[in-house]
């Protein structure tokens, strides 16, 4: 397909073009002998197959013959099947049933007869027929002497296209014959199937077909040998055409115009142009160089001599070579190449890139593995040049660390300078330093573990980033919250008070509960917890203290266990021991009884108590609500939530209708990621507000509350009932697949294998083979682990490509087999 496409692009002659148009227009005509002979016209060639009747044995041949009809018609050769019926026998109808033959006529004269087995396929048919017809144009030779005779006879007269094919009737033979049909009158075509002859002219690779162009026409001195150019691409009709066209083109053209405007046959043939930049002073030498380059690149690129002095084009001062790709719209490249070989390799590597690119199209766009697809690494890299006010934090070293953290309470960020996540967080850390500038007693410090590795190990930092708080006389505490400015700020601020705070009077307790006591901290912790104990409840007091310590930096906790604790417990209707929760935003105080729970359970109780009934879900708090492992009931709201909806939800929750769900709402203004979520849920986005139930933990179904219904308590209740009963159908199911590698990796193992198989000279003792044998099974499995993508083979090709120019010819052909 792609070759026929290229064909149109290069605008080849009509005859050639039609060869590739596989159409069913010309179908095999079936005639009686008499009828057939009556159609023969003088001077016109015709191929006829004489057969007794439709014997199935010949049907394969007939199919091939049928296919040959169209190409042969393009060369003006008609094809027919002649049925030898009893009444009308012809001498061409074989005597015996099986011995059927095909005959080539010109007019009514038989040129050749073919036993059907020589015409084994369509290529053989076309090749044989053209070979017979072009008997004069294509000389078949078998010895070197024949070749030399032809060569000396043609010196100064015509050039030679000498080709070797492995056998007559092969596709390569057909390609050569088709080329001869077009160019046979201009050039002398010479054909051989003798490998010895090929070897004697110095070709090592005798496996493949070859075509040499002997430049004999220009030879004036008869003792001189004709220059030869080997055609490197495989022998196909198109390639030969392209090759001969470039042989016809002038070897070297002098130009003075803009390289971008120059047009030569090379560009039309899809070959690049190389301009050797010359100036008056060095013209002679440059011309010689350019000629030399032109010979080397003959058939691969067009070479032109660009005169800098007479040219009006702005050529960079040092550039001595201009390279122009065949593709339209690609800007020319100005190069400085000090070695002629570099020019050659430049062109050759470019050629192969073209080939590879074609491959890539076929393989369906392979992704570029070097593209950073890690968003953190990408943003950090993009932002790398921005200078951070790092001086706002103290950089600690192995020497200064201990003295510093002893001297003052410190927060230390341990990070690694090369790790993207660390560096992203470092920015938040610096932002925090900006916010706290001059207000905090806490020292903000950092340690780059890429420099102070041993220090980090000593501080038990094995992963990055880690934040630790060092306070005098206490074991360092690791920060376990979100890696962001706000959360860390909260942690630092709440750490200013000891937790739990020891409350000493009822009045202080009241101040604590109404937020007066820690006014400045209320914005960081919307809930204050107060533990109420009688003075003799030592165990539970200790447990609570431990729990408070655990939550230090995350929640404000206080403890009251004076004799008059009953005043408080009575006031808030709590049975001792109890927790009082003061929700400052709502101005509510609840009490929770505290049985004899261990510290861990108390932590759990407090954390659960912190959860709101109908929270606004955000990036920061979602993980906490996900821990409940319940389906989420989310109300998506454009901005702040409509109080009516909120009321409806709270009422439902109060009446225990929402116990199996986690009700929440999402403010798209605060949490723009909500847009993406909605897009994943709905094909066409209905107007907001939208209410959905997302069954994240079992099944992933998403149910949408009908958007034409008003969000009222009744409607919701009804819908939830239906949902529970399984009467609602889901709008989508969230994908459940695992997260797989986004792109394949380089498969170095197979690259190494490929290379090893190309270097048999390398040591390869038997033990290798043994292992290989035992590894065979594993290799099979490997395919599942390392996804075999086309890209891998491509990379191998790519590697080989770069190696081609180092190896010799034979090496090159080895690689092609890949």
């Amino acid at each position: 397909m792609s070759s026929s496409f290229n064909l149109f692009r290069v605008g080849i002659s009509f005859v050639m073009m039609c060869i590739f148009c596989k159409s069913a227009v010309g179908s095999l005509s079936e005639l009686s002998p008499q009828k057939y002979f009556s159609t023969l016209q003088p001077g016109k060639a015709s191929l006829a197959y004489f057969c007794q009747a439709d014997s199935p044995r010949n049907s394969v041949f007939l199919e091939e013959l049928n296919e040959a009809v169209k190409p042969l018609q393009d060369y003006g050769i008609s094809v027919a099947k002649v049925n030898c019926v009893k009444e009308e026998t012809s001498r061409y109808c074989g005597k015996e049933k099986d011995l059927m033959k095909a005959y080539l006529f010109r007019g009514n004269i038989v040129l050749r007869e073919f036993p059907p087995d020589t015409l084994f396929d369509v290529n053989a048919i076309v090749a044989h027929v053209l070979f017979a017809l072009l008997f004069n144009e294509v000389k078949y030779i078998s010895t070197l002497e024949d070749l030399q005779n032809i060569e000396s006879a043609l010196k100064g007269k015509a050039s030679i296209a000498f080709s070797y094919v492995r056998a007559i009737g092969t596709p390569e033979h057909r390609a050569v014959m088709e080329a001869a049909f077009v160019y046979g009158t201009t050039y002398q075509f010479v054909l051989t199937t003798e490998t010895a002859l090929l070897e004697s002219i110095g070709t090592e690779d005798i496996e493949n077909a070859h075509l040499y162009f002997f430049h004999c026409k220009q030879v004036l001195d008869l003792t001189e040998q004709c220059r030869r150019t080997l055609m490197e691409p495989p022998l196909t009709t198109l390639n030969i055409h392209r090759f001969i066209k470039t042989m016809e083109a002038p070897l070297l053209t002098e130009v003075a115009e803009d390289p971008q405007q120059v047009s030569t046959v090379h560009l039309q043939l899809g070959l690049p142009l190389v301009f050797i930049v010359s100036q008056q002073a060095t013209y002679e030498a440059d011309r010689r160089t350019a000629e030399w380059v032109a010979w080397r690149l003959l058939g691969k690129a067009g070479v032109l001599l660009l005169l800098r002095d007479s040219s009006e084009v702005d050529i960079p001062q040092h550039a001595n070579v201009v390279f122009r790709r065949a593709e339209e719209g690609v800007p020319v490249e100005f190069l400085v190449l000090h070695d002629v070989d570099l020019i050659i390799s430049r062109v050759e590597s470019n050629m192969h890139i073209e080939e590879i690119q074609e491959d890539e199209d076929e393989d369906m766009a392979s992704p570029d593995m070097d593209i950073q697809d890690d968003e953190v690494a990408e943003t950090v890299y993009r932002d790398r040049k921005r200078r951070l006010p790092l001086e706002l934090t103290v950089e600690l070293t192995e020497e200064t660390f201990n003295t510093t953290v002893v001297a003052s309470d410190s927060i230390v960020l341990f990070y690694a300078g090369w790790q993207a996540v660390s560096m992203a967080f470092l920015q938040s850390y610096i932002d925090l330093a900006i916010k706290l500038k001059g207000t905090s007693t806490m020292l903000l410090a950092r340690v780059n573990c890429a420099d102070w590795s041993d220090l980090c190990t000593k501080q038990k930092v094995t992963e990055f980033p880690v934040v630790k708080m060092y306070k005098e006389g206490k074991t360092p505490v690791s920060y376990t919250g979100m890696l962001g400015t706000e959360d860390l700020l909260k942690f630092i601020q709440l750490n200013r008070i000891s937790c739990p705070v020891n409350i000493t009077s009822v009045q202080e307790a009241e101040e604590y509960l109404n937020g007066e006591l820690h006014k400045d901290l209320i914005s960081y912790s919307s809930v204050s917890v107060l533990g109420l104990f009688s003075p003799n409840m030592t165990t539970v007091k200790e447990d609570f203290t431990e729990a408070g310590n655990c939550l230090k930096g995350y929640v404000i906790t206080g403890i009251y266990s004076e004799e008059d604790v009953l005043i408080l417990s009575n006031k808030y209707a709590a049975t001792l021991p109890a927790l009082l929760l003061a929700r400052h935003k709502e101005g509510k105080i609840e009490s929770i009884p505290l049985a004899n729970s261990p510290a861990q359970d108390i932590v759990q109780i407090i954390t659960n108590a912190l959860l709101e009934t109908f929270p606004e879900i955000t990036v920061e708090n979602l993980p906490i609500y996900l821990r409940l492992q319940k389906p989420l009931l989310i109300l998506f709201s454009e901005g702040s939530i409509n109080p009516q909806y909120k009321k409806a939800m709270l009422t439902l929750a109060k009446n225990k209708h929402l116990d199996s769900l986690t009700p929440c709402w999402l403010n798209l203004k605060n949490t723009p990621a909500g847009q993406g979520i909605l897009q994943a849920y709905f094909d066409a986005l209905p107007p907001l507000p939208l209410l959905v139930v997302v069954n994240l933990h079992s099944g992933g179904q998403v149910f949408a509350f009908p958007s034409d219904q008003a969000i009222t308590e009744q409607n919701l209740l009804l819908w939830l009932k239906k949902l529970e009963a399984g009467l609602e159908s889901h709008i989508t199911v969230l994908p459940a697949q695992e997260w797989k590698p986004p792109l394949p990796a380089y498969d170095f193992l197979s690259m190494m294998d490929a290379a090893a198989s190309h270097h048999p000279t390398r040591k390869d003792p038997e033990c290798t083979k043994e292992t290989d044998a035992s590894e065979k099974d594993k290799k099979q499995e490997d395919k599942s682990a390392i996804r075999k993508e086309p890209i891998e083979t491509l990379r191998i090709k790519h590697w080989n490509r770069s190696n081609w120019f180092k190896g010799g010819k034979s090496f090159r052909h080895d690689n092609k087999e890949l």
Binding site: M369, E375, A377, W418, D454, L483, A736, A745, L749, C767
Partner: protein, 586 residues
């Protein structure tokens, strides 16, 4: 080793023949200049990284005990080494019995002993000492002597004069072509008539072989004068075929053993090669012949029952040991230090301080597990930290760097590959026995992180300066020539067979998949796209998961639109430890 045992609180004693540590360095190298580099500045603060370029320090927790505090010289004086070792033993309070020469070691079978036998050591006073584990770090103490007629005329490296004046105007023949031979030559190069150097095989330049035991550039002045025709020269011949005869004037002539055997013993009448072949290279008479043929291990004190034998044909000078440094003959006997070099002779640095300081630590870790139930130290981390853990180590680990292809880090995956254990500097040749000798489990696949030179980049005849010797593209990383990290992935722990019959030139058996981190001119493998990204892709494909990192906002989106989350979100965001990011990054 004493330091490690001391830190672990083990019962040990060190026997030292001399009255102080490092007695070797009080006499050797004879010309007093150490050829191990003492690089005091690397431009980096990372202490672990700096050990890559400090070839003289021993390992300890005390930063004062670094060699750079003892000498400012790049090639330091041996006297500084003596001082350093003395301080090391003293400051760390190591339990060393000086002036104790062990004259005999034998084995005593005992069922209750750790290894079924005790080692009985007898000292010069006739006292015996009994131990369960014997660690032999006696180095190579016996000068290698080749027996040939006339070898009695030869002076040894160990005793030859180091005063150049003694060589004024002399013709000198040096046998050997190692660093000691060249060091001797270097010392007298300017005062002799000429120096000829004779050895069995051609000179091996350490810059070409990447083996520090081969001829170092600091000693190779003679190569320069040889190649520039300054009368000095190098010759190759097998010493065992030669003979040296002394003439009436006391000069030495080189001849062939074969001629001596013809009968006529009178010195002046011995046939000389030049009698037949009048352009024989060594036809001149020499004033001195010096032997610098290297050293052998002293096997003499070990009783046969220990079955401590020398290595095969290629390493006669070393005792035969396993890749775990344990003697093949008797369990519980380990060979440490220079004498343990048979494991990586001519490959890595195990015969030198900057190499064996790590192998000794590895042996200590093996012993801790074998006898005290202390598993090989490891760090357990979530998978999202895997790429970082590897990047960190390849950029700073000195043990991997110095003992390339011998010690390697091992990552043992946990079930479902959600977490992993990181083991440092494990002797890779023992990979098959990893579970038994470390006490760690390798049931769910493993990575081995090794440093390697390019496969065809080391050898005595290699041109290591060839054009295009380094690669820059990640896809060509496997063709890297300079030392670079290589990560092997095995779905199962390789068997002993697989380790033994690994492909030629491979440090490890054929893995399920392999990754090369492209070589780096600065040995800094932290480039986000050039180094880290391809490594991540490799790890991802081995583990069949997505190891990218995400901001909390992305994790939030995934959490509400997918049933499963990538490891980074699972291990960070879902635990309320998501990465929030800042305005400028988003």
């Amino acid at each position: 080793m004493a330091y490690f045992l001391q830190r672990a609180g083990r019962d040990y004693a060190v026997f030292e023949r001399a009255p102080r540590p490092g007695s070797f360095f009080t006499r050797y190298p004879r010309h007093r200049q150490l050829i191990s580099i003492n690089k005091r500045h690397t431009g980096k603060a990372n202490a672990e990284f700096n050990l890559r370029h400090d070839w003289n320090s021993l390992l300890s927790h005390d930063p004062r005990l670094l060699f750079r505090h003892y000498s400012r010289a790049y090639f330091p004086d041996a006297g500084d080494m003596v001082r350093y070792l003395g301080d090391f033993a003293q400051r760390l309070g190591l339990h060393v019995l000086y002036n104790t020469t062990i004259t005999h070691v034998t084995l005593h079978k005992a069922r209750q002993a750790w290894n079924g036998h005790y080692f009985i050591l007898t000292d010069q006073m006739g006292h015996t000492h009994q131990c369960s584990v014997l660690l032999v770090a006696t180095g190579l103490s016996v000068p290698n002597q080749v027996d040939f007629p006339g070898s009695e005329y030869v002076e040894g490296y160990e005793s030859v004069s180091v005063d150049p004046e003694d060589f004024e105007g002399q013709n000198v023949l040096i046998l050997g072509r190692g660093n000691s031979a060249f060091e001797t030559a270097e010392n007298i190069l300017g005062v002799t008539n000429f120096i000829h150097m004779l050895s069995r095989s051609r000179v091996r330049l350490s810059w070409a072989t990447h083996y520090v035991g081969d001829l170092r550039a600091i000693n190779n002045g003679l190569l320069d004068t040889y190649q520039l025709k300054s009368l000095d020269g190098l010759l190759e011949s097998d010493l065992t075929d030669l003979a040296i005869v002394k003439d009436r004037e006391g000069k030495f002539h080189v001849t062939l053993k074969f001629f001596l055997e013809e009968g006529n013993q009178s010195a002046d009448a011995v046939t000389l090669p030049q009698d037949d072949n009048d352009n024989f290279a060594m036809r001149v008479a020499y004033d001195r012949v010096i032997r610098c043929l290297g050293w052998n291990f002293d096997f003499s004190i070990f009783n046969k029952s220990l079955r401590l034998s020398s290595g095969g044909e290629f390493s006669k000078k070393y005792p035969l040991i396993k890749a775990s440094y344990e003697s093949k003959g008797s369990r519980g006997l380990f060979v440490l230090g220079t004498a343990s070099h048979s494991v990586d002779y001519r490959k890595s640095a195990g015969g030198f301080i900057h190499g064996f300081r790590y192998t000794v630590r590895a042996v200590h870790r093996l012993l801790e597990h074998r006898h005290h139930g202390v598993a090989w130290p490891s760090t357990e981390l979530p998978t999202s930290q895997l790429t970082s853990a590897i990047v960190r180590r390849v950029n700073e680990a000195s043990g991997l760097y110095q003992m390339f292809s011998v010690l390697a880090d091992v990552v043992l995956l946990k079930e479902n590959a959600t977490a992993f254990e990181y083991l440092e500097e494990f002797p890779v040749q023992m990979l098959a026995q990893l579970e038994t000798i470390t006490g760690r489990k390798a049931r769910h696949g493993l990575f081995v992180i090794d440093m390697e030179y390019g496969r065809n980049f080391s050898g005595p005849d290699k041109d290591v300066f060839f054009y295009d010797r380094s690669v820059g593209h990640t896809e060509d990383a496997w063709r890297s020539n300079f030392l670079h990290p290589v990560v092997y992935y095995y779905r199962h722990l390789p068997t002993e067979q697989e380790v033994r019959f690994r492909p030629a030139g491979w440090a490890l058996p054929r893995p399920t998949a392999i990754h090369h981190v492209v070589e780096d001119f600065l040995t800094d493998w932290t480039a986000p796209v050039g180094h880290i990204l391809p490594l991540r892709r490799f790890l991802e494909n081995c583990l069949d998961t997505d190891l990218r990192s995400f901001y909390a906002e992305s994790c939030f989106l995934f959490a509400l639109t997918h049933q499963k989350l990538p490891p980074f979100c699972q291990q960070g965001y879902l635990r309320a430890q998501g990465l929030v990011g800042t305005e400028s990054l988003r």
